[in-house]
Symmetry: C2
Amino acid sequence: MHPLDAFFNPAALALVGASSDPERIGGRPLRFLQEAGFGRPVYAVNKSGGEVQGLRAWTSVLDIPGPVDHAIVCVPVPGVRAAVEDCIRKGVRCIQVLTAGFAEAGPEGRALQDEIAERCRRAGVRLVGPNSLGLLNVHTGLHATFSTLLDGAKPRPGAIALATQSGAFGSCAYGMATLRGLGFSKIVATGNEADVDVAECIEYFAGDPATRVVLAALESCRDGNRLRRALVAAARVGKPVIVMKVGRTDLGASAASTHTGTLAGDDAVYDAVFAECGAWRAQSIEEMLDVAYLCVTARMLPRGDTLGVITGSGGIGVLVADHAGELGLAMPPLPPAAVAATQKLLPFAVAANPLDMTAQVTSVQDGIARSLEVMLREGGYDSVLAYLAHAGLSPRRFEAVLPALETLRRHHPERLLLLVMLSAPEVTTRLEAMGIPVFADPSRAAKALGAAAALRRRQANLVEPVRASAAWAPLPDVSTEHGAKRVLEAAGLPMLPETLCTSSDEAAAAAQAIGFPVVAKIVSPDIVHKTEVGGVVLDLRTAAAVRSAFDQLMTRASQAAPHARLHGVLVAPMVSGGVEVIAGIHRDPTFGLMAMVGIGGTAVELYRDVAFASAPLDRGRAQALVDRLRASARLRGWRGTPPCDEAALVDALCALSRFAAGHGDEIQSIDINPLLVREQGAACLDAVIVRQEARPVSVDAHGAVRATAEEAR
Amino acid sequence: MHPLDAFFNPAALALVGASSDPERIGGRPLRFLQEAGFGRPVYAVNKSGGEVQGLRAWTSVLDIPGPVDHAIVCVPVPGVRAAVEDCIRKGVRCIQVLTAGFAEAGPEGRALQDEIAERCRRAGVRLVGPNSLGLLNVHTGLHATFSTLLDGAKPRPGAIALATQSGAFGSCAYGMATLRGLGFSKIVATGNEADVDVAECIEYFAGDPATRVVLAALESCRDGNRLRRALVAAARVGKPVIVMKVGRTDLGASAASTHTGTLAGDDAVYDAVFAECGAWRAQSIEEMLDVAYLCVTARMLPRGDTLGVITGSGGIGVLVADHAGELGLAMPPLPPAAVAATQKLLPFAVAANPLDMTAQVTSVQDGIARSLEVMLREGGYDSVLAYLAHAGLSPRRFEAVLPALETLRRHHPERLLLLVMLSAPEVTTRLEAMGIPVFADPSRAAKALGAAAALRRRQANLVEPVRASAAWAPLPDVSTEHGAKRVLEAAGLPMLPETLCTSSDEAAAAAQAIGFPVVAKIVSPDIVHKTEVGGVVLDLRTAAAVRSAFDQLMTRASQAAPHARLHGVLVAPMVSGGVEVIAGIHRDPTFGLMAMVGIGGTAVELYRDVAFASAPLDRGRAQALVDRLRASARLRGWRGTPPCDEAALVDALCALSRFAAGHGDEIQSIDINPLLVREQGAACLDAVIVRQEARPVSVDAHGAVRATAEEAR
């Protein structure tokens, strides 16, 4: 039994703070429960006793004669502590606190919230809220919420579960979904998340037989790995999770002492984690609902990425094809067998993909069924989208098509069939019952299908959450470029031959040994941005030039940074050619170590053409990371230049991410900038490692920064 | 009287090919006209005579006793020519040919279509179609179409006009609009556009008092300047035009002998033209309808770009703010007066922008009205978007808010007010009647508002269509880099001192005069891609090196291209520093000369970070073009480099575009790549001018390429 099960399937429920006014916060849940016919005992608790909405009111939860496993607390703030205490003494297993005025209201509220959460934790009692809008098990009539929305939009039973941090956001999604006819299994608003969070709810829904699709709305995430595990658990059982992440924090910036950190931002990291864990991130509530509708109606995800389109309008066909291309769906041409079948069965049609049935799409007897059959049988497409104009608005005529569609669904159960048309509700309902989603807008249909295909791809390529370990020997001194490079070299990253020199003689000798031209760079733990203090001299071609550069660098550095400790000058080969890459590691406050890659300094900055992935990477994932860059074409023979050693880049990314992961909490961030990828091999031309000094921090639902006990050293 | 007026407001109508079967193409228009109660005479013409749907059927249009000004022809293809001939003899002013099987069916159909169009042209009779789905004047019941959609979705009268090339595409838009309650003034499907095209319909709607918003769907455009003029005409009278351009042609590629041409593509050019001419390009039918709904309901466009947001949910507030940022809307902070007013009137609210009313947004008496008043009066925002959760689902409670909203609209008639909430139809209708649009999805509301603000900006910054002229002296020889540069220099483009040398002595002397280092490049009208034949030598530092380079270049060129005419070697200063820009001119087959700018070769190619605008440019438009580039930051002191001379770039773009426009049809394309923008000034380092050799071509609705008589020399 999942620990959250008692919330959704209680044997008996107590409402502490029950009001006899059915419009008040304490009155509404009781009214909703009664209206929905919740079939288990519901006890009203009100310190005045008497009767509340037809129920006897117990003056204390302790007076209730029978057992109670789930208590809803909606007394005013000052009474919450005592109410929770009573519930614990009564032996409840779970408590929802709907009352607001806790962490979201200020430090006092936060302290009270922490106290209550700690009390529950010690008692082994689970807590939803405080400041929660409540939860619903729609199938059993457990309408344990005070949302007035339930009056305007009665919940419909269905297979979609919704976990939301913000009650308002969840209401908006719930209301829009319900008004368009979508049904829910379970809904929960986690509020301040003093205990139960959205991640745990996702995990619960992953194992809930009544749920086939999971919606989640997050404003923040307290435990990145719990979220990862929950998403992966849902993906493993094939349940699509569609997430909205709203609200941005500036936390990323506080840790941004390096390039990689600046580029990270919350959003890119969330995107990467959602993709790795098999979820789809929606950009709007409507998009979230479109994808959910498609998945829950089709009862499957597309088995692959190929799309066949049937249309009665060239223009709509092109519109769908344009969207499909943007969404990673492939529209391979109609195979010869399908062309032949089209010419035989539908001589008026343009035999291609899109299959253009012309204006006859709806007027020809059997045209719809025949074209769908051609696309499924001879076309072999994983999904088929048919644009049927307004065919569904004539229920009597469309009736004749339904048996053929039913047969097609039966013959091709593994293919996704999608109709785009204007349609009367009775037609739509019949189609949905067959597992055929119906959209009015071609663009929304194509986008939802693209998301469903991405969900399938991601579910098949899950990345298991890995915690950074401290398995490797502790880091030596990495406070200089030289120190960082030596450590990274030992970790398998490619370096040029370089020598740290402490005199001009040593520098000249090193240059002779390396071969001219060389570069010389100041080495100091106190100077991170060397070029800003004139700490780099390029293209030295003689021993004399190297000597003079040594003296110059030492002088400049001691002038520019009088207190800097100077370790000497690094002499290294001057190389050119190849493609400059930035590779990095960034410790995200929520998700831990993330690897990053970008190509070309300017493009990385201007176009944010960078990709993130959880560390460590294997070769496949490192290659996929590089492939995500729009600039990856530059590695493969760009405008006449020879192709670069992409394998060397992939190896370097793997080595870098393994190194970071192996050093547990020691690493805050690493910049290798540039990592020069050459025709043969690669070389780190500069490297900065920033140790993690402070304890890792986390952010809760209300933006308060606090140390996470679990992650603190 | 506009030439198209007789189509929409005929005094008497004849249906040639009228059928007594009300379900056939020839029968449906008659049925629809009768059902809609069209109040003018309608004559049925059927060669069998007798009676058709209760009307006497005339055997020929010539037999009709009274005058007829508008004829609808839907006889089969073989009879169309004779039917049109009869209509012309009868003295009609306009003809719709609904029959299909013309240009879209093949060369024979095209020939017949051309013949009929020419016959009409000579007779001064206007023609819609052939292959048109018909047209409607919804307000007069002129339902002259055979679309079966009219049975499923009866037209509602309203102020939106729709002109569409594709009947199917138009049906989809019409159907979706009608089912969501939008009303139309006039609708026309132009079909094969043998005469009347979408552009002319837009122009007509611009002057139509019944139309306030224009929708247009194009698959191609025959006359770019007519489209420009039509869009500008609508924009000048403040009517929003929302366009969808679907279907891509590969025509751009055929003319793409230069870089600029390759980058152009149809889409970037259409985007530029729509923006210049005050229109909004929608990416989906639903987006088109959202923008139309907003404009037609609010009866205005936002007067500016500032947005105030009221929300009951932090999450929704952030979601809207994110979209607003992407859409170019500004969300300035709440002014101090508004903060004070909020604290006084709404002490529970978070006084900021978004103004977060917390969960009390709907429960506090007057909360909605007070917050709106604060945002409008003290906030001063041009538009205010209020997210009111599901307040509209309780008509009885929302009723109380309506008078206050009415007062606010009256006090602030110039501000746009937008509500986002779940709402009962009776509430929505009341709000819409006050000029307040209501959306359910916050994202769609924000996007529609962004489009409306862009429409207002564009209407205020219209670019008048200019035709290229041949006012300048004819082009001399521009077949080499040297020739092109001299001509561009004379036109005011910045050049370095360069010398064309025909001997190694001349080259050495030129280098001495210019100063070392120099570059040397082969000059031949037959070698465009110099680097590919080793035709460029960089960084020559001595006279001897220049001599040797001269010989080397001449030898290499004659080996690589034995038949190339070699004019000599260009000696030019070797410069470095600055930012490399590509500036170009591209003759679009539809819209003529377009100016282009992009920064940095790689970024231009990989990220398509280029901007197009109609030539010629003035300084303001040239600056705006540069501002549109994401890479424009590189010109302004990027990562510690000094700022570049942006004014010199702007001047160069103006000079280049004036030069191209002044040379009428002589120019096919120009590439200046790179144009080096330096700390002081700029310099064209290479230039290619391609003359227009072939006649300009155009493409019609069915993809057939043909010479445009008007543009041919």
